[in-house]
Structures are given as C-alpha cells and as structure tokens.
C-alpha cells in the first residue's frame, strides 16, 4: 500500500483552504432539533435508540414473566393474552434489531465519529443527514402507534413469514392484526429509507472528505467497520424491500405473491428476507468490532494486532455473508441438496471471525492493560460473543439444525451474539466516547459495578435457554401447558431463573442511566484527550465545536502508534507532526 507520508494532499469535497470559520450561534431549533450537525444527529439517533431500548426491554419483561409464571397477573402490566404475547415477542425482536441496534451502533456512532475520525467538518450531505434522522423518527412514531390501533401491534413474528403475515386481515386465520401489520411494514420501510440516506452519507463522506494524509490504511478500524457495514446493508436491503412491498400488496391489494392458490409461493419471502437478514447480522456486529479495536488499542497501550488482517477478514466475512442465508431454511422445505452448500459456507464463516477474535485477544499480549469501564465492556463483549459464535456451529450443521431449529437453542444463540454486540458494544462505546461529546467523565466506580451486574445477569438470563432448547422447547409459545414434558419442574425452574435474571439485568441499567445524568452535571471535566488516544476525534475540543476542529488536522501516521520504542510518551497522535 502506498502511504502518503508527510506531504498533505488536497482532498476534494473536504474543508477547503483557509482556517475553519468562527463558530456562530444558531437558534434553539436549528441547534438541537432540526440540526444538520453530524454530532447532534448522532446524539438524536443514540437517544432515540436508547428510548426504544426501554420499550423493547419492557416487552421482554412482560413476556418473560408470562413464561415463568404462566397466567399470573404481571406487575405493572396485568394479564397477558396469547395474541398480546405474539405481538410483544414480534415487537421486541423488531425494536431491538431495527430501532435499537441499528440506530445506536451504526446510525448513532457512525454519525458521531466518522467526520471526527477522518478529520473533517461534517458529513458530505448534512441536510440529507437531517432528513435521514427525521424519517427515522417518523418510522419510530409509526411503529409505536401500531400498539394503539384496533387489534394491536403486529404479531406475526419479527421475520413476518407469509402466509400468516400476508393474510392479516381475513378472519379465519386468527391474526387479528389488520392495521397493526400494515403499520409494521410501513415503519420498517420508512426506517430503511432513513438508513439508506445515512449509509450513502457514510460512504461518500469517508471516500471524499478524509483529512490530508488520511490514507485508507491509516483509517481507524471503526471507520472501516462503518463503511463495510454500510456497504453490506445497501447491497442486501433491496431484496427485502421488494419482499416487503409484495407482502404489503398481498395484504392490501389482494395480490398473491405468497399465496399458492394464486400461483405464489410463501418460501419466496423467506429467501428475500434472509438474503438481507444474514448480512444484517454483520451490519450490527461490525461497528462493535470497530469499537473493540479502538478501545483495546487505547487501554492496552499497544497497536491493535494485525490491523490489515482484521480489515481483510472483515471484507471476506462480508462477502461470505451473502451466501449463507438459506441456513435459516434448512427445514423450510427447500431442496435437501441445497443444504450442504449453505451448511459449508455457514461453518466456514467462522474462519474470518476466528481471525478477528484471535487478533483482538493477541492485542492483549504484552499490553499495559487498564480495566476502565470501556475496556471491561469490550473484554466482556469478546468473552461472551465467543459463546454465541461456537453455538452457531451447532445450528450451521444442517443435521443438528433439524433438531435445534425454532427451539430456544436458537434464541439463546442469537442473544449470545446480539447482546454482547449491541448491549456490551454499545455500552463500551458510550463509556469511551461520552467524555468527548459531553466534556465530562463518567463515574468509573459506578461503571464497574454496572459492568459486573450486567455480565452476571446476562449469563443467568440466557444460559438456561440453551437447556430449554436442548430439551426440545419450541419458540414463540405462550404457554407450554399442552406439553407435559415441557412443563417439568426442572424446565419451569429454568424459566423462572431466566426471567428473574432478565428483570435484574434491566434494573441494573438504572445505574447506567444515573451515571449518564449525574456525570453530565457533576462529572470530572474531561479535557480534549482523557484516554491519551491517537485518533483524530481526540484532537477536537470536548464537546467538539460546530465544524469540529479549530485547526484542520493533517495526518502523519496510522491510528494505533502506542508505546513506540524510543519515544517519551506512550501515545503518538495521528495529527501530531513530530
């Protein structure tokens, strides 16, 4: 790779000559609400995502209570009906994936970090960026409104398999969610419009607005991950949007894309959904891999081990992720001969991810590790994600999947991938970058207590589900009363442990909220670079001003030059000339 060393290059579309303009005050509305500033938009995404997480968490609380104590009245809710159970499970999945993980990890942090990390003033298209958030906001309103319409929210599962989802309005099919289902599709469609606008911005900005000297292999790993995630999303989302449109047409216009009686085929939707759905898993995973890379380098005081290996492995995994989708359909009635291909690709995708995880672990070697809350959550992410990874091998084996598919083994597996990635990754990033965007440090002791409570209750909430799945417990069941073997005292005890732990896991997050609020007013002032980090965002003020930098940075080296032999300080910022 050719590196552009000491000579700054002019970059099209970047901040052109002259010093950055002086800051000018805008009114309240233009500063905090209809802002085109990437930082405000990033925070808007972040806060909206956290609020939606509270909704998703409450839904989980309600249906977990039903499973542990079937039929009992649930505190702060009341009795749950079977229809509500289906709706809550569906909405929990939908919200946590599309309205928490996506806005927090990708839209939120990519907006906050890309312009700062590549050393520019804002996104390439600031107004499009604002539009992106407000379309997303609208989609959130539409989704929440679906709880209030007659029939309630959509209850056909977050995967929305037809014909159940397609025939929402006709009576005999027992899915009394006419309008709720339509609103669900509309909300998802709006949200994808928002993320497409965001994704375009991430790509164009990173391609065109990098600071002088910021070559591709001097980009922080986090920026690489945002870019690859945006590419995966944009290449995979088309088929899903087509699938959703056909579903909406089947529901409202009486078409029969998924109706065999009209010549359609329900399995078509599954292909369209999972062609998107599997790359989507990596869209969520990659930003957190980026957070881990940034945090590991800073808190071990070492270069991240195998920077290029990590980037190239991620590209390989991204490509592979387009040819694994049918592993969600081994027993869906597809030709059995197809399964071998998808089983092999699925199990092989563990290779690039093993490389990434091992490189991250190798970074610890000979480090000088400081266990601050961001590092604890990043370590926790890797430790827990490995459990999610290896349990995926069971499901990737098509023969084992005959047994495990649609059981709680699957539920446990994907919570062991998504909770580390979304919750641990998101929390690590918030603990790490909070000082940058508020100017104050979070309380470290409170953060550590929060970490240990989260780790313990996450495991006690999710480990029992593996055993339920092995016992044959199928998913999306309101009450197991019909199957005596699944109502055994042992299994019921496991459900109670999982539920009580879920409640404790949710309650533990109150510590985090307290910390966020208290530190905002009373936290230690952070200064520009509290972690002594190299990447460009730490060269800006905390919080960064409108336009980010008071002097345009020029980049002289890679992002992870920590503990370079022969230097007095153990960090060497990217923009520092000597």
């Amino acid at each position: 790779m050719t590196t552009i060393a000491e000579s700054p290059v002019s970059v099209t579309g970047g901040p052109s000559g002259g010093p950055p303009p002086p800051e000018h005050a805008a009114g309240f509305w233009r500063t905090y609400v209809f802002s085109t500033d990437h930082k405000v938009i990033g925070l808007q995404y972040l806060v909206t995502g956290l609020l939606m997480a509270a909704v998703g968490g409450f839904l989980a609380y309600v249906f977990r209570m039903q499973l542990a104590f079937p039929g009992d009245s649930i505190p702060a809710f009341g009795k749950l009906s079977a229809q509500q159970y289906n709706a809550f499970v569906t909405m929990h999945g939908t919200i946590m994936i599309f309205w928490v993980a996506m806005p927090v990890l990708l839209a939120g942090f990519a907006n906050l970090l890309i312009p700062l990390m590549i050393g520019t003033d804002d996104m390439a298209f600031p107004r499009l960026n604002m539009l992106s958030y407000w379309v997303f906001f609208l989609s959130s309103v539409v989704l929440l409104a679906s709880f209030l319409v007659p029939g309630g929210a959509f209850g056909g599962g977050w995967t929305a398999y037809p014909p159940l989802s397609a025939r929402g309005q006709s009576g005999p099919h027992h899915l009394a969610t006419g309008l709720g289902g339509d609103l669900w599709i509309l909300a998802v469609a709006l949200e994808f419009v928002a993320f497409l606008m965001g994704g375009i911005n991430f790509l164009v900005t990173t391609f065109n607005k990098r600071a002088p000297g910021m070559t591709w292999f001097r980009l922080p790993v986090a920026v690489w991950m945002f870019v690859i995630a945006a590419l995966l999303f944009m290449f995979s989302v088309g088929p899903l949007i087509a699938g959703a449109l056909m579903l909406l047409a089947d529901r409202t216009l009486g078409t029969g894309f998924y109706d065999p009686a009209a010549g359609g085929d329900p399995i078509l939707f599954q292909h369209l959904f999972w062609f998107f759905g599997h790359p989507e898993v990596y869209v969520l995973l990659l930003p957190s891999v980026g957070f881990v890379a940034e945090i590991f380098a800073v808190f071990t005081r070492k270069p991240i081990f195998g920077y290029r290996t990590i980037v190239l492995s991620t590209l390989a995994a991204g490509l592979l992720s387009f040819v694994v989708w049918a592993h969600h359909q081994f027993i869906a009635g597809i030709d059995p001969r197809m399964s071998t291909f998808f089983s092999v690709t699925t199990i092989l995708i563990s290779v690039p991810f093993a490389l990434i995880v091992f490189a991250v672990i190798a970074t610890l070697w000979q480090g000088s590790i400081r266990f601050s809350p961001p590092m604890l959550f990043a370590l926790g992410l890797i430790a827990e994600f490995m459990i999610g990874g290896v349990t995926g091998i069971f499901l990737g084996s098509s023969a084992v999947d005959i047994y495990a598919h649609d059981t709680y083994f699957v539920v446990a597996h994907f919570h062991y991938t998504l909770i580390p990635v979304v919750i641990f990754g998101g929390l690590a990033a918030i603990y790490y970058w909070y000082p940058k965007f508020t100017g104050r440090m979070l309380d470290e002791r409170l953060g550590k207590v929060h970490f240990w409570l989260t780790v313990v209750f996450f495991n006690t909430a999710m480990l029992p589900l593996f055993f339920g799945g092995l016992a044959g417990e199928q998913r999306r069941i309101f009450s197991y009363a019909a199957w005596p073997s699944l109502m055994s005292p042992e299994l019921q005890a496991l459900r109670a442990v999982a539920t009580i732990s879920t409640v404790c896991l949710i309650l533990s997050q109150i510590l985090f909220l307290l910390n966020l609020v208290r530190s905002y007013f009373r936290g230690q002032p952070a200064g520009e670079n509290p972690w002594q980090a190299n990447t460009l965002e730490w060269a800006a003020a905390s919080p960064p001003r409108h336009g980010n930098f008071s002097v345009w940075p020029t980049v002289y080296r890679g992002p992870y030059e920590y503990s370079v032999p022969g230097r007095a300080r153990d960090w060497w910022p990217q923009h520092s000339a000597s």
């Binding site: 159940l164 270069p303 081990f305």
Partner: protein, 238 residues
C-alpha cells in the same frame, strides 16, 4: 441427566452423535480461547514501571500466533462439515421405500393424519383420517406427505429428532422409523397464529400387533364416515 429427550428414531443417533462431536470440539476451542483471554488480561494488567510492547502483528512471525489456531479451527470446521454431510444424507438424502404411508396435514390449530385403507394406497376411497393421534408401527419405515392448509406449520417430534416445515402449496415428503413403542409429544414449531401454543398432537408408536388391532378399529367404514375427531378437537374450517 439427559439434556435431550430420549431418541426413538433410527436416524436420531446420527444427530445426537453430531451434537456431541460439535460440543466436544467447540467446547475445547472455547475453553482454550477464554483461558487465553483471561490469562492475557490478568497477566498484562497495568503495573507501575512496566511499558507495553510494540507488536503490530503485520509480519508472519507474529501473525502465525493467530493463523495457526485459525488453521486448527478450519480443520475442525471441515471435519464437522464432513460428518454433517453424512448425517444429512442419511436423513434427508433420499426417502426409502415405504413400509407405511401417511398424509399429515397441518392447519390452524391441529394436525390431521390420513392413512391408506385396506388397499394400502393413499388417495383412494378407503382412506381414513384421525385427528390428535398419529399411529405408526414400531420398526417400520413410515413415509409421510406433509401439507399445510392455511399458513406455515412445522411438524416437530423431539423424540424422533424430526422437524419439517409444512408449506401451503407444497407436499413435502419425508420419512422416519420409530425404534421404540410409546406415546410421544408432537408440536408445531412455526408460529401459526393466536393458538399456536395449543397445536399439539401425539405420536403413538405401537407394537406390530397393537397397530394391526388399532388399524382394524380405526379403519372401519363406519368410523370413516364419522371421521373420528373427538369433540374439542374439531378442526376449524377455512
């Protein structure tokens, strides 16, 4: 303690041994990786005066520390793929010549089972139907034709290690051979509507004699017209 219900099908042991194989291989890998993580984190915690090493991991000398473990992962993957392929072929590769045939129909919220009558052929006038219980003889290869009337269902018999989605518009052929007599739980494993969690059924594996006796009773023409669906198990018409 058994983590999985006892297996009563001829091919179930192939799945169970694959579960064990993957558990052992991934279990060892997981333990080693977690131990490496924990050991490195504790050993290299920050101590006054000790500086961090400068290791970029860009040369082969350094990269082999992660490439060799990944090569081991790859070998384990390929071995699992191979064993999986063998198991999958045994179960799904081809449907054997049937000793018995049955048509399984899923609809909200029950399974119904259609058996050939005395002529041994499905789709003829003497077919008869049951709801709630599927009877099969032990030790015989049963070929099923799985259909769905309304939405997706998934025919799920944990003890047989058998799960297969039922898809409207398709007839999906599959098979099993039960190896032990008894009554086993059947469920629907694909969300199919409000009463999805009421969609249960029972597999009754009879000895040869019991099965013949049951067949004679259930297959009687009188019952055939009456359709032996007990009250409360009425299938909603669509």
């Amino acid at each position: 303690m058994h983590l999985m219900p006892e297996n009563v099908s001829s091919f179930g042991s192939a799945i169970d041994s694959l579960v064990l194989l993957i558990a052992v291989l991934t279990g060892i890998g997981l333990l080693v990786a977690e131990a490496a993580l924990l050991y490195s984190a504790i050993r290299f915690r920050r101590r006054p005066g000790a500086a961090a090493g400068y290791i970029r991991g860009e040369t082969w000398r350094q990269l082999r520390w992660i490439v060799i473990p990944v090569a081991v992962v790859l070998l384990a993957d390929l071995y699992i793929d191979m064993r999986n392929h063998a198991a999958w072929e045994e179960i799904k590769g081809s449907v054997p010549k049937p000793d018995r045939e049955v048509r399984i129909t899923g609809q909200q919220f029950a399974y119904s089972y259609t058996y050939p009558g005395n002529d041994g052929e499905l789709g003829t006038r003497d077919d008869f139907q049951t709801v709630g219980e599927l009877h099969v003889p032990v030790g015989e290869k049963v070929v099923f034709y799985l259909e769905a009337r309304d939405v997706l269902h998934s025919f799920w018999v944990p003890a047989l290690r058998l799960k297969q989605d039922a898809v409207p518009g398709r007839t999906i052929r599959g098979w099993f051979k039960a190896t032990r007599t008894g009554r086993y739980e059947v469920a629907c494993a694909e969300l199919c509507g409000v009463a999805h969690s009421m969609m249960r059924s029972t597999l009754v594996v009879d000895s040869r004699e019991d099965y013949e006796r049951w067949l004679e009773q259930a297959g009687k023409p009188a019952l055939q017209t009456a359709r032996p669906a007990a009250a409360g198990e009425e299938v909603p018409s669509t």
